[in-house]
Amino acid sequence: MKLEVKNITKRFGTLVANDNISLTLQPGEILSLLGENGAGKSTLMNVLYGLLQPDEGQILIDDKVQKFSGPGEAMAAGIGMVHQHFMLIPVFTVAENVVLGHEPTGKVGNLDLNAARKLVKKISDRFGFDIDPDAKIQDLPVGAQQRVEIIKSLARDAKILVLDEPTAVLTPQETDELMEIMRGLSKNGTSIIFITHKLREVQQVADRIIVIRQGKVVSEASPKASAGELASLMVGREVDLNTSKKAAKVGVETLVVKDLTVLDDRNQQMVNGISFSVHDGEVLAIAGVQGNGQTELAEAILGLRKIHSGSIQVAGQDLTKSNVRQVLEAGVGYIPEDRKKDGLVGDFTIAENLMLDGSFGKPFAKGVQIDFAKRDEIAEKLIKEFDIRTPSATTLAKQLSGGNQQKVVVAREMSRDLKVLIASQPTRGVDVGSIEFIHEQIVAARDAGKTVVIISTELDEVLSLADRIAVMYRGRFVGIVDAKTTREKLGKMMAGIAA
């Protein structure tokens, strides 16, 4: 099936998310849509899938103009989509999820789950997916859930499969498996649109690459292009993919964690007797696939989450039973993994967000009152220092782009007198320019002799920042290795296999 997208424009208010975009997709082709977060890739795909209506332009399948008023019609036309956030119902079984919306029924209108199981089995066997039709989604690992999403599309005879950032949640091994699956599908005649911002994957699997920047198609590239070329196309200028840093000048042990065990909200042991120490002037990166206890570890150090057993010390001071304020006053800075949820108050101004952690005393408070003049002065200074692109200090935080929001969080945390910086996913959903800037700031903090802990699921980030790497799997450290460890070895460790 041949797909043509012609002159699609989609606006949200004054923002032009898609500006006159055209592309074609040949049968059996893997087309990669490369672009930064916020470049308009997902908007385009939501238009293609009928979730959004375009303001202008047409979609053609086999030269026939299509009009999708909802996903149902797009599916009927042969388009399947695997969303970045899976569209699966956790309490349903695989079979129920696969047939939802086009259920096989028995004689009295009852649900024919046997037929559904057979369908799942058939597709699963054909592509070697190894999926149990009766397993509940919530019990499956993320990689398997993604395969269920693919089965879901194939079960509806999708000829065009859209994969939206499919590798964001996968281990390197699972990513390789997915690439295999994609090649297998394309051999069988399924066309694939593969949306990503990861250059390595594009080079591995794509037949053709289309680069989107600020809502526009900027160019077409060949998968043989170098990572550097692709990155500059994506960002629109030369980018330095490697953060250069001097050798670490390691000082005294500042953060010491001993036998730490932490439970999550459902009383499951998420951190399982972890011990480690980090020195001044060094970056320890904690790598691992999302959901292996990293979040709970960071929250426990900050005092946000109760510690079940074990101890935490910062510069000799015991913080095991301390509350958040005491931890902050002990000199710990924290960049949370979800800036919108934990890092910022969206409806507060930038100036207000920059003083969120400093409302207790100097320099922001004068007695019981906020010193507004001082607040605005500090805000202006930090906006300049941290290159926060904003019309003014009184702009609401939620109106900023992801990268600038993150810079507000980074500015607030790093402008205090820190001993230890803990940064969870410091560049998730952030544009390349801001990634460079934030990485430089982190390295500068290290060089200034601070103790830095980075928690990241992105191997690239881990490798470019770390002096030592700890790999976390199911609440434990599989090992702590040096920064020269190979990608392959780290990938294995992320799957729980020791080096």
Binding site: G72, M75, Q268
Partner: protein, 426 residues
């Protein structure tokens, strides 16, 4: 630099500790029965009366010494409780049927202890029959609650829907002289009320709890006003519908005990017998139900496979409202025989609690509603058989036991994930 030796599979996945709340409650309640009703109990005899005087087949009453009976039952309950502790420690679950047997035993001990030496004995048919009739509005209310919460709409307005149903069925039943017309009108009226809730919540995204509360206040106000301004002056012609005839089902109604309790009833009870299994079947065995549950769990996922979230929610909430209207009619036409001011008296809110207690499952919700029906009749009956007893305290007991026992279940089943959340496209 440390390297920890690790082999695949060395890490066990995170574990949850099984809760001992339920088993411990069972043991504690068993000890209360054993000690206070048994060892320190009353010395007289209990007479369990199984037959109504009108019945063809008469069963002889079962007469037993109170202390002996309660000690025996208490010991059996203790055994079940200990068994449950053992099962839980081994990582298993206490089967629901065992808890049901336990509940039945505890109920018999409580009834027996209350009626020791009472001349009329324990009138099983009276107690069970009334439990059922009193539970009917709660069951219909609970089904309405399930139908809307399963698709992700919190329906606080069940109280108002019951009251609407009660009012409309009584008035229209009287005016037309046909109770069936009254019943159908009640369903339509409550259905319309639900449409208001559904469209405000789904289309205009008004906070669901607020609409619910407003609708309740509105219905109470309107019915009170109409009642005092219009109905009360002319009760004979407006508010005197009487109740449906009892329709004994041939053969089945002649089964001893159960026949009288279950199969000699009014149409409202039989409708419940049909509706509860039907709702279970639709929810869990048809594609309509699968889609409805999908909408309540993850509306965006449902939308991406072409299910119309708004429309699904609208119709489930509306039809749920019609069921609640039927519950209102069963209050008047199925039991009392006329409308009274604010006669729903909080039943709609209890129905909401029962929905949670019954974990959004039609069968369990029905059982929960029956428990509440039982406590209502227990209060009336306990006063008759042993005057002077602190009735309010006695009626508290079943609630207390249930509350604590359910706290043990709480972790097992979660409410529909999207309950109460409006769905906005794009």
């Amino acid at each position: 630099m440390t390297n920890i030796e690790v082999t695949p599979g060395m890490f066990s996945s995170a574990e949850t500790k099984p809760s001992l709340k339920t088993p411990i409650t069972l043991v504690a309640a068993a000890l209360v029965v054993l000690i206070f009703f048994g060892f320190l109990g009353k010395t007289g005899d209990i007479s369990f009366v199984w037959s109504d005087k009108r019945e063809a087949i008469q069963l002889p009453p079962f007469i037993v010494n109170s202390m002996f009976f309660c000690t025996l039952v208490g010991a059996a309950l203790l055994l079940i409780g200990l068994l449950s502790i053992a099962l839980t420690i081994r990582g298993g679950k206490t089967p629901v049927w065992l808890i049901a047997i336990y509940g039945l035993g505890a109920m018999m001990a409580l009834l027996g202890w209350l009626a020791t030496e009472a001349t009329q004995g324990v009138q099983m048919i009276f107690i069970l029959g009334n439990t059922l009739v009193l539970a009917i509005p709660l069951i219909f209310g609970g089904m309405a609650g399930i139908m809307s919460e399963r698709v992700g709409v919190v329906n606080i307005a069940i109280e108002g829907q019951l009251l609407t149903g009660a009012f409309v069925s009584a008035i229209l039943g009287t005016i037309t002289g046909n109770l069936y017309i009254g019943m159908i009108a009640a369903m339509i009226a409550s259905g319309l009320l639900s449409m208001v809730l559904a469209s405000l919540a789904i289309k205009y995204l008004v906070e669901q709890i607020i609409i619910g509360v407003l609708l309740n206040v509105l219905v109470i106000g309107v019915t009170n006003f109409l009642y005092s301004a219009w109905v009360d002056d002319d009760s004979i012609n407006l508010n005197f519908p009487g109740t449906f005839e009892k329709l004994p089902i041939p053969l089945l109604s002649e089964i001893p005990v159960l026949g009288q309790v279950l199969f000699n009833n009014r149409i409202t009870v039989y409708l419940m017998f049909v509706l509860v299994p039907l709702l279970w079947y639709v929810l869990f065995r048809t594609k309509l139900g699968l889609r409805a549950r999908a909408v309540g769990e993850h509306p965006l996922a449902a939308d991406t496979v072409g299910i119309n979230v708004g429309r699904t929610r609208f119709w489930w909430v509306t039809i749920g409202g019609m069921v609640a209207g039927l519950g209102g009619a069963s209050l008047t036409l199925g039991n009392v025989g006329s409308f009274g001011r604010e006669m729903s008296a909080g039943l709609g809110f209890i129905a909401l609690a029962v929905v949670i207690l019954g974990r959004w499952q039609p069968i369990y919700v029905t059982l929960g509603a029956l428990l509440f029906g039982f406590t209502i009749i227990l209060k009336v009956w306990a006063n008759q058989v042993s005057p002077g007893i602190p009735v309010d305290f006695i009626t508290m007991v079943p609630y207390l036991v249930t509350l604590v026992a359910v706290a043990g279940f709480a972790g097992r089943v979660k409410p529909p994930a999207a309950s109460g959340q409006p769905y906005v496209k794009g």
